[in-house]
Subunit: 419 residues, 4 copies
Amino acid sequence: MTLLADLLSTVFERRYRRDASDTALDGRPLTELATALVGSAGETSGLALGSEILSRFAQLEDGDKLAFFRDIATTMNIDPERVRSTLDDYERAPSKASYRAFAEAAEPARQEMVRRLNRVPGATGALVQMRADLLRLGGAEPELQALDLDFRHLFASWFNRGFLVLRPISWESPAHILDKIIAYEAVHAIDSWDDLRRRLEPTDRRCFAFFHPSMPDEPLIFVEVALTKGTPGSVQALLAEDRDAMPEDAADTAVFYSISNCQAGLASISFGNSLIKQVAADLAAELPGLSNFVTLSPIPGLTKWLDEVGLDWSTEDPDNMRALAAHYLLKAKSRGGLPYDPVARFHLGNGAIVHAVHADADISDKGRAQSGGAMVNYLYDLPRVAANHENFANTRDVVATSDVQSLAEQIAFSTTDER
Amino acid sequence: MTLLADLLSTVFERRYRRDASDTALDGRPLTELATALVGSAGETSGLALGSEILSRFAQLEDGDKLAFFRDIATTMNIDPERVRSTLDDYERAPSKASYRAFAEAAEPARQEMVRRLNRVPGATGALVQMRADLLRLGGAEPELQALDLDFRHLFASWFNRGFLVLRPISWESPAHILDKIIAYEAVHAIDSWDDLRRRLEPTDRRCFAFFHPSMPDEPLIFVEVALTKGTPGSVQALLAEDRDAMPEDAADTAVFYSISNCQAGLASISFGNSLIKQVAADLAAELPGLSNFVTLSPIPGLTKWLDEVGLDWSTEDPDNMRALAAHYLLKAKSRGGLPYDPVARFHLGNGAIVHAVHADADISDKGRAQSGGAMVNYLYDLPRVAANHENFANTRDVVATSDVQSLAEQIAFSTTDER
Amino acid sequence: MTLLADLLSTVFERRYRRDASDTALDGRPLTELATALVGSAGETSGLALGSEILSRFAQLEDGDKLAFFRDIATTMNIDPERVRSTLDDYERAPSKASYRAFAEAAEPARQEMVRRLNRVPGATGALVQMRADLLRLGGAEPELQALDLDFRHLFASWFNRGFLVLRPISWESPAHILDKIIAYEAVHAIDSWDDLRRRLEPTDRRCFAFFHPSMPDEPLIFVEVALTKGTPGSVQALLAEDRDAMPEDAADTAVFYSISNCQAGLASISFGNSLIKQVAADLAAELPGLSNFVTLSPIPGLTKWLDEVGLDWSTEDPDNMRALAAHYLLKAKSRGGLPYDPVARFHLGNGAIVHAVHADADISDKGRAQSGGAMVNYLYDLPRVAANHENFANTRDVVATSDVQSLAEQIAFSTTDER
Amino acid sequence: MTLLADLLSTVFERRYRRDASDTALDGRPLTELATALVGSAGETSGLALGSEILSRFAQLEDGDKLAFFRDIATTMNIDPERVRSTLDDYERAPSKASYRAFAEAAEPARQEMVRRLNRVPGATGALVQMRADLLRLGGAEPELQALDLDFRHLFASWFNRGFLVLRPISWESPAHILDKIIAYEAVHAIDSWDDLRRRLEPTDRRCFAFFHPSMPDEPLIFVEVALTKGTPGSVQALLAEDRDAMPEDAADTAVFYSISNCQAGLASISFGNSLIKQVAADLAAELPGLSNFVTLSPIPGLTKWLDEVGLDWSTEDPDNMRALAAHYLLKAKSRGGLPYDPVARFHLGNGAIVHAVHADADISDKGRAQSGGAMVNYLYDLPRVAANHENFANTRDVVATSDVQSLAEQIAFSTTDER
């Protein structure tokens, strides 16, 4: 990674320097600079302006950041009258010029502002951080939500799957990347470098992350994988400090036991689907003995939903806990008929199916609190993933093994979620 | 480069394979697949569709390519009524939803098609090639020019300067890259590997190219540089087979003697300005003895203009040729008051000035034909480049040394270009 | 490093596999295999033999290792009669054949054994480990000391300075290398990853190590450097957890505050001299503001010597402690007139001089115990290092600043070390 | 490769600079400097001396080089009296000290000289070149042959197989390496970059070379491989300009059709055996469809031997030419019963067998002259290579297919070569 960072970023990094002529920037308000950037005829002053805007923004207090967002959300919005008139002109006489005029009118100037900011060396990461600020501060203001859609539109294009790079993360990876893996792990916290090492170094453990060439020191999303014999039923066993590692070619199963998004500023830009499929395909190619690709996933909404619908649960009764979990995964629905559980939505949407549920499978405080210790295996049956995916997209039916279906039927409770 | 290519592309390349379920694609027309791609709910089938579209398109005859472009230019265009109604909705009640509806309506579906195609491993280069086909075949049809604006809009975002990587090209570079340097050289043809070697291997020669991480084997633009003592007045001297190389730290001048764009499909996406400035800055940092950054540039429009305005010229009269060249560079104007000469427009627009003109400076057939053998040095005075650039953008005044001005005055001819 | 490791070792690693025909090896004693290896006509069976020997040796108990060493020390020693007769032949009729016969007779077969073992992929590290075992177990047995001289002779050739690679160690280095830096630090223990990070990540800290291409995951020796303004007088200040880092270009001094050899099996193969000089030269080239290259070194033999010669010392009296330290460094001699202190011998032998001594400079338990908390700066005055080195090699005079000389004079004690 | 070169050599390259104190070296004769180098107490002056010796030597005329070799061959030879006395001492009282004294006496000082020269950055390549000069100039002088044995002894240790790196050579390799491949090809000359490209770029062509980390820009030996269906019978077909390439996974046979040693200074340091076996093993792992590993080899001694023994031959009679070739390969013996043909000695010694012979298989001028156009396939039957090797080493029997044996029997001629 260091090398990649080197190749990709030192070229530009720290090269741009404000020169004497830039002092003119000093006194001017940030929004004025942003307006100038969009109007900037030339690349040179554009770089000076862009660099100034990014560095000033980064130092603002939250209140001033919010004010800046509101400013550009309104002053750099589309002008409906101009959209209408250019559209009329284009409809009357379609030409390169009339189409260009419409296209420019229909896109708010703030999109062009973000693109021009991105010309500054190292800007991509700064813009991702800027959107993280916007999401954190913007709340439900319609103008700011619209502004966020513009960021998201651009980021979906820039972080297009075709531009991402999959990299293994191992105990031989650079420490500053591993440091971020520790910080970003969102499912089963990594509490020390020794804990990290136990997840990376053994022959039966793997980790993979997506990177973007313009942010080579920042993982975007990563997945931790355990190679096992058979499908595991608890995360405690997987992460036990004193377990013996297995030779990698003795494994028949790859378990995706933790998937973490790393960048708040890339919310709603989906990488997880691609990540799991690529990692599964790569592992299948590397280790022909693998025939089984499953997750060991949390059920984050279980106890919340049980409490909502008034079903009793107790970690003391594991059989009932399993049945409740099965019932919840198959029956609890959210708006539009999608599963109530966000992790279920993700994996089922990817084309996985519900394979097995386990009680006492995550006995950490967090695991007990969110799901009474229950966990679930989603199965990625590679030859059927595409068909499952299509089917789920069309019907929203939750496919599960007959065991899980039987479990779910044990709960005599019927809910129609009307949200 | 091999390594970079390796890191960046082997991850994805050749990984996607059509599987059995994709046979459904076989009989369907290309435009239908394109429509399905834009509507595709899921990433999985999107990849299969996208891959099929790209590989089928690449095998089409020109007539069929043109038909495909016309199809998507019309069937995937904006729908004015939908733009108007979503705009009305948004104006009436600005919200995240109404803004999103408008934004989706105002952007033609073909843009989303191109973005989804780009998810396929290796697609970026294929899409650049697709636009090259469009430019070659599209002519002046307004619908196809509009389609091209959509490509250009996306490419300007993807090939944003912040995403490019500057790489030195040397005799130690991979042969398949050097092969492309030979093929793409557009100013002074490289006629053999030995010729190439003379431009790369000596201590007083350099070459640099921009690359995009998703097309790591394809230079986008490159510049050839000679390190010299003093400003050279002919390209023959620079490229002489039997010249003695100079130690790099004896040089006081860096001469940009050839700049070539490599990708027809990236026409109008400007890289040259950034390239020259970065290379100048890098060389200045590496070799503190350099104090002079000039070009040795062709004057491609000179004889054509002289013939147009009826001025006599002859390569037999070098003094007059220099004066004519100076006059042309300073006085001949194109539409909007910009210089008539395209190379002059480029360098003056970058913030360079006209430094010196030379007769008998390019005595190749091409050089004699286009400029009577005359060439020009543009000077990049780094501390003044930004100010020059601003000044030229505002006034279109051509700044030249007093010598060149005096030369230009020797021609008693006045023209007002009325185009 | 991962990359280097990759390039250099995956080529061979894990490629050699015992095949069916190798089962013949199974029952035979290790020494018999070693004898067969030296006699092995062909490379193929040599690899099988070598691989078997290395893997079996690694699994032996200490007693069996010692037995193996004794075996080869005697059975693979020179044959004096054969040396004499081939020498006679050569003297009588010098020829290619007679010289070859003598050279083969004069070199014990165990050297050839070690060279042949080294053909096995990954063997270099295993052989370094084998010598570590020999040094640990061999004691003062003359035969084993002679065997060790053979190892050392070969290693001096293989680990020739011209084959070593200097690499910066930073917070971006691979974790498995950093893990070894923590383990191998021999001067000021690194007690956690956070402690390590404080020594690597700040702008004013550096670390460099020598590697051998055949052991790319194993540092051979490393040095930790602090960039400072002025010469520091205590290691506590350098390593303080809460200190503020300084921009690297504000520093005028590079302080080598810790040098650790990593490989017990490379004892007496000297790298430190080269390391310090290369690092000093590289830092001087990178940071022109550096004008001062000093160590902050322990004085490991101080209290032991003071006790031996009966001089009272106390950490409560820092002025006296400094004077005692100065006196010791300048006056205490070991066999042959060299300084008594091993660290002093090393740096003075490299061409450094005694620059300053400090009390309360290392208040750790170890620092107090070995030197009453005193430390010393050795100065590497680059333009004078070669002359100092020559002078010390010839005269063994300890050069020191006048301050240190005056301090040393305060101690009215005269010793003539007669060892 | 550029990267490897970069990692491994820029560290040291061009770092060592003579400083002012080195002017003392200027007037002294080269042999005097060599003597001083061996006696040099310190590394610092050793580097200055070594660097001076290497750069001066490289500029000598051949006569002066020869004089230098004669000087060190005699003045730095062993001293028999000292060898005898230290041997007596050691025999009388074996100890570390007495063994060291003997070992130092028994090794000529010129070996230590070469080792010390090798400490200079970049010296390894210069020393290989020095030995090439020695072999070229030394002739049959016994002293110089003995000197060469010392070089060879050291080089065998430094270029130990465990230190070599196998690298694929492809059309993506650095041009300066490919340039050397063109220059060093010794079997079937590469007459242009296009010819080279035809041997590297197609999917069914491969090339591999061994490198040493200290000479990263210099291949040591390389092999060119064609992937084919079936065993090819002529090199013209393999190298045809207009042939169609085959997908790599359609091949069942890997043909080693050219093996070239690159460094005259590494004569008698054998790499070819390792190279073929590693390449065969790597290809077998990469392409499971390969089941056949053969050479298409020249028969360089055929016509010379036929002329010597008075057997008529003509390229006009291919059937007879094949029989003669088979007979020669199986029956013609050199000193000690080894095959007369050097290429046969190499491959049979590696464990290959004679698989087939072909007439009209190399119709180049060189091919007709040396073997009447005949060529031979040697077969590397991987599971049997080790046994074949042992068998040949013990019995010198040439194993061949029954077809080749029958062919050989057609020639009614019996020779017992008594050389």
